[in-house]
């Protein structure tokens, strides 16, 4: 690198400038995290909430979780849900981004406004409308499907079986996160220079080859970070699931990790165990995002 040793030694200001941000992170996230680790090693129920001393049980909570088949079913379901939803979100978002760069100014602006409206819609309001759409009696979805000849969808209850429940949940989550992916990818696409694409075209590359051979590698950093964020968001999805459960079933078959922890902690008042599951979710998040961190490290090395 070209930075001289002298300059490196004297320039401390970047580190000074980092202090507020790091300080806020430590206070804002470190404190609850430490607290959570401590609680996860305690027997902490409602009586402890009201001041009784909490006995330390070390790893008993974790051991109990390891043998809990319900939990592992929820973990498997959550990971499957988050991966499928994140991939679908990415695919739809990317297609919309390509559409945005392909169409003219007016349709693009209409598309962007539509996406922004979806993005800025408060979750609870959007969920209320989605639940109406999928209502078994008066929902627009059933009504429209019923119009198709040969399809009998009147009174079909989408929220009755876990499979259709999670399809609905996935559609809603995708709808809510596609705008973010679309805008980020579109921003990435604008950075792909026209000259390179023109040169490739002159060399005889067709549309598909240009996309996979040139565009995709060039916007890969954007895609990677967006995909990572989607995975993290979809793993801890809570509001959508809990509101669908209110409209459907309270049964554990409809739980993902977020609602599982909420039921365990706030509703069944077993805060120790709920903290242990939260730590587990943190670990899963780190494992799932490892591919990204590794690629970052690799880039640093090169």
């Amino acid at each position: 690198m070209t930075v001289t040793a002298d300059r490196r030694r004297t320039n401390r200001s970047p580190y000074l400038l980092l202090i507020p941000a790091v300080g806020i992170l430590v206070i804002g996230m470190g404190y609850p995290l430490v607290w959570q680790v401590v609680t996860s090693m305690q027997e902490y129920g409602l009586q402890q909430q009201f001041g009784k001393p909490a006995p330390f049980v070390l790893f008993d909570n974790y051991l109990a979780l390891a043998g809990n088949a319900d939990l592992w079913a929820v973990v498997a379901r959550s990971i499957a849900f988050c991966l499928l939803t994140a991939v679908a979100t990415l695919a739809v978002g990317l297609l919309l981004a390509l559409l945005m760069s392909a169409v003219g100014r007016a349709p693009r602006i209409i598309l962007q406004i539509a996406l922004l409206l979806a993005w800025s819609m408060p979750v609870v309001a959007a969920m209320t409308v989605w639940i109406w759409l999928f209502d078994r009696r008066r929902g627009a979805v059933n009504y429209l499907l019923d119009l198709v000849p040969g399809v009998e969808m009147n009174r079909f209850n989408w929220l009755e079986s876990p499979t259709t429940f999670f399809i609905v949940a996935s559609v809603i989550v995708i709808w809510m996160s596609v705008p973010f992916v679309a805008f980020s990818s579109y921003a990435g696409l604008t950075q792909v220079s026209d000259e390179v694409l023109e040169a490739a075209q002159l060399d005889g590359a067709n549309g598909r080859q240009r996309f996979f051979g040139i565009i995709l590698p060039m916007i890969k950093p954007v895609i990677a970070i967006v995909f990572l964020l989607q995975i993290i968001w979809d793993l801890r999805v809570f509001t959508q699931i809990t509101m669908l459960q209110d409209a459907g079933s309270k049964s554990g078959d409809f739980d993902l990790l977020g609602t599982y922890i909420y039921k365990l902690g706030t509703k069944s008042q077993d805060f120790g165990m709920a903290s242990a599951v939260s730590i587990l979710v943190l670990a899963i998040t780190i494992v799932l995002s490892w591919f990204y961190i590794r690629s970052l490290l690799k880039e640093d090395e090169s």
């Binding site: 909430q49 209850n157 079933s249 309270k250 049964s251 554990g252 069944s268 077993d270």
Partner: protein, 429 residues
């Protein structure tokens, strides 16, 4: 011009000074302590709320703020707010089935010293019991309700059936009334609060105390008998989703606005549901809304009959009321309780269709069919187990899950054993 500016300036200065005075004066003027009361759902009508706030102000000079919590979130909010002295409500309404858990945990103030003053032995005993630990009273009854049946006289008449006198007769009638578009008896598969009546009626229990420990008794033979009856009834009489738990069943008893026919011939609901049942007509005050007015020719009530006739034990609805132990305003909170348990307020509860905590005022419920059905069904009603961990059991959703699986056609005995084990882990707190 200049003159005008001076006038404006003077006026502004005067306004500032006056504003300063008034803001400095107001706390002294009122003098009392401001407290907060949490009520759940819309069960307490506005008239009663207004009474509480104005009486509290008259009695103490302070302001009473009433904050309404939704029934679904109340348990979680109480869990997090009650221990926190800075954020706790001072007085709380608490679902009767949650009272034992919070009482055992030490969430409430001991009210034994004012128990007699507030009504003593005249207070509904089963509700006092769930709010007591070791003979000291912490959470007192607030109001009670009960569930009874609402039915469509026109549909029943057309099918040629009459009001049943035993539970078996009811089950058969409900099955006979079911058509492809109409439930004979509409209830959700996960709706354990209503479904449990069949368990109670057959002598079953959800849990019993064995020595010092509570044990879930879903696999008790009597409980299983009740659950099997319920399973058959759900399959034969109800078109409700197996995943439905808390719902608004009365909408199914009213005519569907598109088909002009009801979706259910019979429902079970808390007594106050009758305000929502009836012939639909545009609201005279707001033509965009529809109001339902009870019509005796079309709608009727009866009490769920027991196995051998008489009255089946239904789930006793209602609430307790308590002072948060963490509250900094204990004395003022006690003042509020005195208002709640005053003769006047107890009468008002009854007049609004809520069973008054003080049974001396039960007559204020009146003697119409709703009051009669309420009193009759409440007399036999049962509470959920007074176990320290009962709120956790309810919060976990295990009962919804269990009843849903039973009504979904699962093997009752197998499921009962499985869920007994799950509930036993939570029930002792």
């Amino acid at each position: 011009m200049r003159r005008r500016i001076i006038v404006v300036a003077a006026a502004t200065a005067a306004a500032l000074v006056l504003a300063g005075c008034s803001s400095a004066d107001s706390p002294e003027e009122s003098g009392g302590t401001d407290i907060t009361l949490w009520l759940n759902g819309g069960d307490t009508p506005d008239e009663l709320r207004d009474y509480l706030t104005s009486e509290y102000e008259d009695a103490t000079g302070g302001t009473l703020t009433i904050e309404e919590q939704s029934w679904t979130d109340a348990l979680a909010k109480l869990t997090t707010a009650l221990p926190d002295a800075d954020n706790t409500p001072d007085v709380v309404e608490i679902g009767n089935t949650w009272a034992p858990t919070f009482t055992y945990a030490g969430a409430f103030t001991d009210l034994s010293d004012m128990y007699d003053e507030l009504g003593g032995d005249a207070l509904l005993p089963s509700f006092v019991e769930v709010g007591s630990v070791d003979g000291a009273e912490y959470a007192l009854p607030y109001y009670f309700g009960s569930r009874y049946m609402f039915y469509r006289k026109d549909v029943w008449e057309k099918a040629g059936v009459t009001v049943p006198t035993t539970l078996t007769e009811f089950n058969e009638t409900a099955a006979a009334l079911k058509t492809d578009d109409q439930s004979g008896f509409y209830f959700g598969g996960e709706d354990w609060r209503n479904g449990v009546s069949w368990v109670f009626a057959n002598g079953g229990e959800l849990a019993v105390k064995d020595g010092d420990e509570w044990k879930s008794t879903l696999s008790d033979p009597n409980t299983v008998t009740g659950l099997e009856q319920l399973q058959t009834l759900f399959a034969d009489a109800s078109l409700a989703p197996v995943t439905e738990s808390d719902s608004t069943p009365w909408v199914n008893l009213n005519n569907n606005e598109t088909t002009g026919a009801p979706e259910a011939a019979t429902i079970i609901a808390p007594g106050w549901a009758h305000w929502s049942i009836g012939d639909a007509a545009p609201d005279p005050e707001d033509p965009t809304k529809v109001v339902n007015t009870w019509n005796d020719a079309v709608f009727g009530t009866f009490v769920l009959p027991g196995v051998d006739g008489g009255v089946a034990p239904v789930f006793a609805g209602g609430s307790n009321i308590a002072i948060s132990a963490a509250s900094k305003n204990q004395e003022s909170s006690k003042e509020l309780l005195k208002i709640v348990f005053s003769d006047e307020y107890q009468k008002m509860l009854g007049e609004n269709g809520l069973g008054p905590a003080n049974l001396d005022f039960a007559s204020s419920l009146g003697d119409d069919q709703f009051a009669t059905a309420l009193i009759e069904s409440a007399a036999e009603s049962k509470l959920t187990p007074a176990a320290p961990g009962w709120a956790a059991v309810e919060g976990s959703g295990l009962l919804e899950e269990f009843f849903g699986k039973v009504n979904g056609g699962g093997d009752v005995e197998e499921l009962a054993t499985e869920y007994d084990a799950k509930i036993d882990e939570l029930i002792n707190g």
